[in-house]
């Protein structure tokens, strides 16, 4: 989805428990939500993980991971190796969940507010500048 768009609901499956829920159920209780589409086979996702960890540790944002066309075993190994910045992770085996977000591929990141409005969309890996911008948006 492009910036300022409000997303429509869809079903997602959790990576660990493989439980199916509506995505809107996840978006509760926080002012900001950061949705990151990632995969263990995605090289830029490795570079990006330190930025995601920084946001997880230094902001009150809820971190949601969408694991894109990946194997569960590889995804869990990736998180063990590079750190797990996510509060919740969902599977996107077919790539259709990412289409629901209006994504082009991996990695991609969306910052949503509590009105489910997309405030920022980042195509490609996050950079120092992006992290600064996200922090600024959250703190304002």
């Amino acid at each position: 989805m492009s910036e300022n768009q409000i997303f429509t609901d869809f079903e997602v499956v959790e990576l660990i428990e493989e439980k199916q829920i509506n995505f809107s159920e996840v978006l509760t209780g926080k002012n900001f939500y950061l949705i990151n589409i990632w995969s263990s086979w995605c090289e830029p996702c490795k570079d990006e993980s330190e930025y995601l960890l920084e946001l997880k540790n230094n902001t009150p944002v809820m971190m949601i991971g969408i694991n894109y066309k990946d194997k569960k075993k590889n995804a869990l190994n990736f998180l063990k190796l590079y750190g797990d910045p996510f509060d919740q992770i969902f599977i996107d085996k077919q790539g259709t969940i990412s289409i629901n977000f209006g994504a082009y591929g991996v990695p991609e990141t969306f910052l949503l507010n509590n009105d489910y409005k997309i405030l920022k969309k980042y195509i490609g890996p996050l950079s120092d500048k992006d992290v600064y911008e996200i922090k600024k948006t959250i703190n304002n």
């Binding site: 077919q94 790539g95 259709t96 990412s98 289409i99 977000f101 082009y104 591929g105």
Partner: protein
């Protein structure tokens, strides 16, 4: 007695065959319809990460995901218009090859007609002036 039971078995077999055939045909027709619809939709969608290819032509990761997405939306009972409209919301008007008439594309659609009318007025004016002289 024997003839009657034979007749009953034949009816039973025939009924099973008809039931099987109608079921098979309904599944086959439903999937063909959906497949054709998927193709029609994907032919009018631009592959946003490819050069000059439709989603239908492209084998890119994005195009493959998009094909599966469209199929699943059709299975949910969504119409072509609903699918196009939701994709335009997500990706912008650029994703469709045939953008249709909307507030944003009104100028684009009316420009040829406007140019034609302006051209006609200029030509008519010239002819009128020539005749006046």
């Amino acid at each position: 007695m024997f003839m009657k039971s034979k007749k009953l078995s034949t009816i039973k077999i025939l009924s099973i065959l008809i039931l099987f055939y109608t079921n098979f045909m309904s599944i086959a027709l439903a999937s063909t319809f959906s497949e054709e619809q998927t193709v029609n939709i994907t032919k009018n969608l631009r592959c946003l990460i490819c050069q000059g290819q439709t989603i239908h032509e492209s084998n890119s990761d994005f195009a493959e995901s998009m094909k599966k997405y469209i199929k699943s939306e059709l299975e949910k009972g969504k119409t072509d218009e609903e699918i196009f409209s939701s994709l335009v919301t997500k990706y912008g008007q650029w994703i469709v090859y045939d953008p249709g008439i909307s507030r944003n594309t009104l100028l684009l659609w009316s420009l040829p007609l406007l140019l034609f009318l302006i051209g006609g007025v200029i030509i008519a004016n010239k002819i009128f002036r020539k005749h006046e002289l």
